[in-house]
């Protein structure tokens, strides 16, 4: 692991976690042609979800952003495993799906999801600029505050 993206992670003093095992009977990623699909990731560290609860009811925008950022780190840990350790094989971040556990009157989902999007652009530059859909959901597995799924194009 000594590629460009690995170097940018080091520059940002970030370390990818060990890829988390799925919570259930599925796999963390599949590849079809050049398309890499990564399963929805929650903000877990060492198997424990670090930000639980709802935006708009106790979880602040800043906490939500940190959660979204951790979700993306977990997505990248899975992508790295899919790429045999070499994140430079990612040609493009195609799409991020952001699921924000939120109350009915919460409206700042976009700001929360920027925690993931900003990190994608910081790491991958223009190749990190992705399509995105962000929605507020009723609840998430394990009471996670945020879940992020991803599609990448590999080279």
């Amino acid at each position: 692991m000594a590629g460009q993206i690995a170097a940018r992670l080091a520059d940002l003093a970030l370390t990818l976690p060990s890829p988390m095992a799925p919570m259930a009977n599925y796999v963390p990623f599949v590849q079809s042609g050049a398309l890499l699909i990564v399963s929805g990731q929650v903000p877990a560290v060492d198997g424990r979800i670090t930000v639980t609860g709802k935006l708009g009811a106790g979880v602040s925008v800043e906490q939500g952003q940190a959660a979204a950022r951790q979700c993306l780190l977990n997505v990248l840990a899975q992508a790295q495993a899919a790429c045999g350790g070499d994140l430079d094989r990612i040609a493009r971040v195609l799409r991020l799906g952001g699921f924000i556990a939120a109350t009915a009157d919460f409206a700042q989902h976009a700001l929360v999801m920027n925690g993931a999007s900003d990190l994608a652009v910081a790491l991958f530059g223009d190749a990190g600029r992705h399509a995105r859909s962000t929605i507020g959901v009723a609840s998430l597995p394990g009471d996670a505050a945020v879940e992020v799924e991803a599609m990448f194009e590999l080279r």
Copy 2:
């Protein structure tokens, strides 16, 4: 219909329903290259949704699992139609999206969605191991308790 997957369905004493007509102005599946996209399916049998309501408010995890399983059977009925009757043309289950109608404090979405995922693996083996995103939603069309969408790779 006498392929391997058809035989496993028979082994499990399962019958695929007639593919359900969409609730509205869209189609149940589209194909683009090797990619087959199946529209979100609710747990309907003979045109009637069998499990309605919310997880965390009256619908048990077991009922939710049965609903998720029925959703996947409906997905497979659509996939079978897309494949001209031959489910052996499915090279891989790429991704399942699981939408669980749930209360804000429900947290066992992953267990519910296993009703679909376990069946995919039981039928397709390793080719049934899929990427997955599962979220808890406020409500679903027709008050369905679960909705499942899918992407397949065809051969």
Copy 3:
């Protein structure tokens, strides 16, 4: 802009808006091979969201349909930009994802989303018949009542 789809837009007395800038650090569309992915669009006109609130709590089905239709116009504005101005490069509307901000007891999501689906078919004919998943969400960015994302196949 003088193609077939542009002509049908004119026939329907519809004008595509200027493509809206993303609310945050991402891009409105990405292309990978023949696949065009458009980010979730809210029912904004001139940068202001025109239909806010929840289906089942003050927003009528008719208002929701108008919102879904506006979301699709905004999706098409992005697709037009992706196609260098020529919507005739769209070979197929592959999939629409419909996110309806709704109460727990709302059940007519499919009717609401028809506001988008019916317009797709009116504009693109058979090539506009798409796979679709529609769900009811807790809340959406900027309190939008509806959000629509899309995948197209380009020629």
